[in-house]
């Protein structure tokens, strides 16, 4: 049997943290892309598009992320197209995150006073010009703090990928635990590593929020 020193444990956990970070990045970029698309669908004048987007958001916010993960991972296999845990986690997290970001961003766009739409139209700007020059710059400013705050949820969400066998930080923790039987040390370290990833983002989000507040925008 191999002896594991504390350094061995920490080193292996740190190596696995890479995959937590990579998966978080993929999920965030994917989620943001789909989320942006959904936000504009939600704000379109087509009632069916609006309803469809609301339904999408409600479905993904009203069901456990774990179930979404299982449905995609096992669903694909049951349909005869087995996919890797990597891909399943990326897809599930992308869909899950997009629903939340759509909700956050829609709120930010709607927070820009309605009168500005009318004012821009009176000035002769069309929909896209109004969006591009008046609404989006303001909404973007409002949206950054909650988006940074939500990225913490993204990182924490990737922990569920461990359940379908994707080796990231949490899975590495359980594997190391099976080899060393030092659950207290290992899960404390795992928690601290997540904390090290998430806490700076939380603080940054709070700082940005405060800055907006001080600027009188909130």
């Amino acid at each position: 049997m191999i002896e594991f020193t504390l350094w061995d444990i920490l080193r292996n956990l740190l190596l696995a943290t890479r995959w937590t970070i990579v998966l978080s990045l993929i999920a965030f970029v994917g989620g943001a892309t789909v989320g942006l698309l959904l936000t504009f669908m939600r704000l379109s004048s087509n009632r069916w598009l609006q309803r469809l987007t609301s339904l999408y958001v409600d479905l993904f916010q009203g069901t456990p992320l774990l179930m979404q993960l299982f449905l995609i991972f096992f669903g694909a296999a049951a349909m005869g197209h087995p996919i890797s845990a990597w891909l399943a986690a990326s897809i599930a997290l992308t869909l899950f995150i997009s629903a939340f970001l759509c909700d956050i961003w829609r709120g930010c766009l709607e927070a820009v006073a309605k009168g500005q739409w009318h004012a821009s139209r009176v000035l002769g700007m069309n929909y896209f010009q109004t969006m591009r020059h008046v609404i989006l710059p303001q909404a973007l400013r409002l949206s950054i703090p909650p988006t940074v705050g939500f990225s913490v949820q993204v990182i924490k969400g990737t922990a569920l990928a461990s359940i379908i066998g994707f080796v990231e930080l949490t899975k590495a923790g359980t594997m190391l635990n099976n080899a060393t039987f030092e659950p207290f040390t290992i899960f404390a370290l795992v928690a601290l590593l997540y904390f090290a990833l998430c806490y700076p983002l939380s603080c940054y989000a709070r700082y940005l929020e405060k800055k907006l507040y001080d600027a009188g925008l909130r």
């Binding site: 479905l59 009203g62 069901t63 456990p64 992320l65 774990l66 179930m67 979404q68 299982f70 449905l71 096992f74 669903g75 296999a77 049951a78 349909m79 005869g80 913490v152 990182i155 924490k156 969400g157 922990a159 569920l160 461990s162 359940i163 949490t170 923790g173 359980t174 635990n177 030092e182 659950p183 207290f184 040390t185 290992i186 899960f187 404390a188 795992v190 928690a191 997540y194 904390f195 998430c198 806490y199 939380s202």
Partner: protein
């Protein structure tokens, strides 16, 4: 296996489904109550207690909010026995969910509490209320009413997150799903059904919370925006 759905294969497993549903519902009900109660205590102490208590509670809240629920659960269920504290799976799930909900709700409540003007508390004292009385009637209940929608959402998030307790062998809805799909190999149908049940639970929870809120905070309605 072709891409055909067959929900009839789930019929023999109704009792497992019901057992899982019962566990999830009871676990949610109990932890919502204990979690919110603990949140009130934490929110109060984070403002009014000794500096070291405030500091410690701040650490608890930040640690909980910045680590995944599944890691908290594993730490309590697998990690604590390493220190000689042995707990069974359902207790571990109960503790983890309570601590998780309390940390988030305490932050939400704190926002509601800080919105109460300081003068109101002093006015309450001037009217002859004791410190606790004025805290309860002037600060706590209005704060609760103000952040009630956010508390509903947080409780639902914890309920949905409880799917993870299946990983430490608590027989909840997700565990039932895993159990059934290991027998009938109909994973997609099982998970689809269970997902729908969670969706209904989330919907039902929001509805009943709102009904309760309408009654409890009836006299606060004027103040709410």
């Amino acid at each position: 296996m072709g891409p055909t759905l067959d929900f009839l294969t789930l019929l023999p497993y109704v009792s497992e489904l019901l057992k899982g549903l019962t566990t999830t519902v009871i676990l949610t009900l109990v932890t919502t109550l204990t979690g919110l109660a603990l949140a009130v205590a934490v929110a109060y102490l984070r403002v009014n207690a000794q500096p070291w208590v405030r500091w410690g509670l701040g650490g608890y809240v930040e640690l909980t909010r910045n680590t995944p629920f599944i890691v908290q659960l594993f730490f309590i269920f697998f990690g604590l026995p390493g220190l000689g504290i042995k707990i069974d799976a359902i207790t571990a799930a109960f503790i983890a969910m309570t601590l998780n909900l309390a940390a988030y709700s305490a932050e939400i409540l704190r926002a509601g509490i800080s919105a109460t003007a300081k003068g109101q508390l002093e006015a309450g004292r001037a009217l002859g209320m004791t410190t606790l009385q004025s805290y309860r009637h002037v600060v706590l209940v209005p704060a609760f009413a103000r952040v009630y929608p956010a508390l509903i959402s947080q409780s639902i998030i914890v309920m949905l997150g409880s799917a993870v307790v299946s990983q430490i062998s608590v027989f909840d809805l997700t565990y039932a799903a895993n159990f059934i799909q290991s027998r009938n190999f109909r994973s997609f149908e099982v998970y689809l059904l269970i997902t729908l049940v969670y969706l209904l639970l989330a919907f039902g929870m929001r509805r009943s919370f709102m009904l309760v809120g309408k009654r409890v905070f009836a006299y606060q309605q004027g103040e709410q925006r």
